[in-house]
């Protein structure tokens, strides 16, 4: 495995700037997730690392070695696509062995066999090795396509939303599996997704992309607790953070702020709270209850783990944990 360093990368397609001055350092053995909506430049970044796309300017280093002019096949990266692309007429075994049989690699039979079994075991598809690819369920197919990337020992694994076509239960399961495998193999992974849950649950570090600009990089906790803009604060957290006008809150600690951000879990139903509001809806999410509230001056949502005995239409008092309020200026940037 390798570390990957992108330095001042620019890439435009016609008049559209896909990436603007991107600087990114992915450490050896790191699970790095690029998070952003469609069109943010996630896939372009992956393609530039793999060599499928050339940047207009900037440098790409693998282990501090410049690879700008190295052909994709010789960069030794391993790519997993969103749609599993297996050879339908091959068995699972042959699908997994295929990348190792490449003339570029010249692995012997025994090595191939050992590796295929090792990876099949990790992905829990050992008992399917003799099945045709078409005889698999969706989840199994995606395991095989992950496996086909993992059998190789590349410089970096590049993954483009590999779980997004699976249903919720399978996605939950594979998230845990993939993170476990990455930890066991000490693999370097650059993973792109628009799904914030995938990002916070698997990443060692997350980079938040917005329209080709990397707006913040940090551990999931840093990004969740210390977002540097309203944009980032909105990207992470489900239910979403409450963004209010600074004037709407009582005794603001920052008179020059324009907006405040308050996480739903930092608002409590509290008899001594200073806000009188009316409950609009309550939603049970399992261990937690989501309450949306409204008044003439303030509206938002709060999240509580406690048993609540109030319901729709009730008037309640709420309190905000003031130490957790995030302040933003009129450009929606964080003020500290």
């Amino acid at each position: 495995m390798a570390s990957v360093h992108l330095e001042n990368i620019n890439k435009s397609f016609g008049s559209i700037n896909a990436l603007s001055n991107l600087n990114l350092e992915i450490k050896d053995g790191e699970f790095f997730v690029l998070l952003g909506p469609t069109g943010a430049g996630k896939t372009t970044t992956l393609r530039i690392v793999s060599g499928l796309e050339m940047p207009d300017s900037g440098n790409i280093f693998f282990n501090e070695e410049l690879v700008n002019n190295v052909q994709p096949a010789f960069r030794n990266t391993s790519y997993v696509f969103q749609q599993y692309s297996l050879y339908p007429h091959y068995s699972v075994y042959d699908n997994l062995a295929f990348p190792l049989r490449s003339p570029l690699r010249k692995s012997d039979k025994k090595t191939i066999d050992d590796r295929v079994h090792e990876i099949a075991k990790l992905l829990k598809i050992e008992n399917k090795l003799n099945n045709k690819a078409t005889q698999l369920s969706g989840g199994e197919m995606q395991r095989v396509s992950l496996g086909r990337a993992l059998v190789r020992d590349p410089n970096i694994y590049l993954m483009d939303e590999p779980l997004s076509s699976l249903d919720a239960k399978l996605r939950e399961e594979l998230r845990v599996e993939l993170k476990k495998i990455q930890t066991d193999l000490y693999a370097t992974i650059l993973y792109v997704t628009h799904d914030q849950i995938e990002a916070t649950t698997m990443a060692d570090r997350i980079g938040v992309l917005k329209e080709g600009l990397l707006t913040q990089v940090g551990t999931p906790q840093e990004i969740y607790e210390e977002p540097n803009s309203i944009y980032v604060a909105n990207r992470l957290g489900s239910p979403k953070i409450n963004i209010l006008d600074n004037k709407q809150i009582h005794n603001s600690q920052n008179s020059s702020a324009s907006y405040v951000g308050i996480r739903p879990e930092d608002i409590k139903i509290d008899q001594n709270g200073s806000y009188n509001v009316k409950i609009e809806t309550t939603e049970l999410l399992g261990a937690e209850t989501l309450v949306s509230f409204k008044s003439d001056t303030v509206n938002g949502i709060l999240l509580t783990q406690e048993n609540i005995n109030v319901g729709e239409g009730d008037n309640i008092k709420i309190g905000i944990n003031e130490t957790k309020i995030l302040y933003f200026d009129n450009n929606e940037q964080r003020m500290r």
Binding site: A168, E172, R175, V176, K179, K180, T183, D195, I197, T200, T201, M202, P220, Q221, Y224, L236, G237, S238, P239, K240, R263, E265, E280, T281, E283, L284, L285, G286, A287, L290, S292, L303, Q305, E312
Partner: protein, 360 residues
Amino acid sequence: MSEIKIERIKKTFDDFVAVEESDLTINNGEFFVLLGPSGCGKTTTLRMIAGLELPTSGKILLDNEDVTFLRASQRDIAFVFQLFALYPHMNVRNNLAFPLKMQKFSKDEINTRINEVANLLRIDHLLSSKVSGLAGGDRQRVALGRAIVRRPKAFLMDEPLGTLDAEFRELMCLELRKLHNNIDATTVYVTHDQLEAMSMGDRIAVMHKGRILQHGKPKDIYTKPKTKFVGSFIGSPAMNFIPVNHTIQKNQNSVKIDNEEYAVPKSFQNTSSQNNVLGVRPEKMFLSDNKGIPGEVYGSEYLGTRKILTIQSRFGTYKIRVSNDVNLKIGANVKISFDSDSAIIFDGQTDEALHSEFIN
């Protein structure tokens, strides 16, 4: 709005039983959710209420009127299939007017109703826009508007949010629920998504293989599932199941797992089976310093306010919910235990929850 009553209704397709004899009462003004995996009979039930399918036997009452054999068009019910089904070449106003024109309402009445609905759904400013140019959320509001303008007795919705991405779905759930409250509607909503059901429903009926296994308030179904299936289908992450390899006697208030005794709510029943299962929700399990099931951390997922740990033990893989300051590395050895007052024992033979101090 109105009350819907289903009495001993049954539907078979040849020798396949789609819906077994069931009873249900959906109260006036209620948001009622039919929840289950695909093929469980929920859509068939909804279609029988709508009149799109005739029951093999049984009765359907709408406000105490027997409508079992009335045509769909005679039932005064609005069916929302997929919220995106709009006429793309018409503007918003004409899309909303369409169902009223079909029923030959006067021009004035049509205009009054459209303005009222547009106001309610905050789409007044879009009335003359083409539907094809609208953003996803606005389209969805228009489709809802088209169901509402008729002022039907009940709304029937079949997975209306199924095709939306997670973030947008969250928003629409909230809006749908607010709308339901504002117009004081009776709504029957079909979905396979437990989170949608829990967050919107006043009451939920969980269906499986043509049978209604349990119905009640979301909270009761979540905390007190009556069968193992309901326990595992509701909740994300799902309920944890720990094997208990001995019979349970009436009045017994502990179980043995891995040669350790654990307190459980006092049982009011005996089990017939030797292989029973203990069901515990992820938030009711915790890391223990003393007694506990030994396991290894397999995954640790950060989710803002909380973390979900995946623990592998020799009895199976368990998910537990911990606060976000718990920092454990993958591979760390831990012991896990559970809150004794909310544990449920499912009979190994019947998969049904034993009646106990906690559940009855």
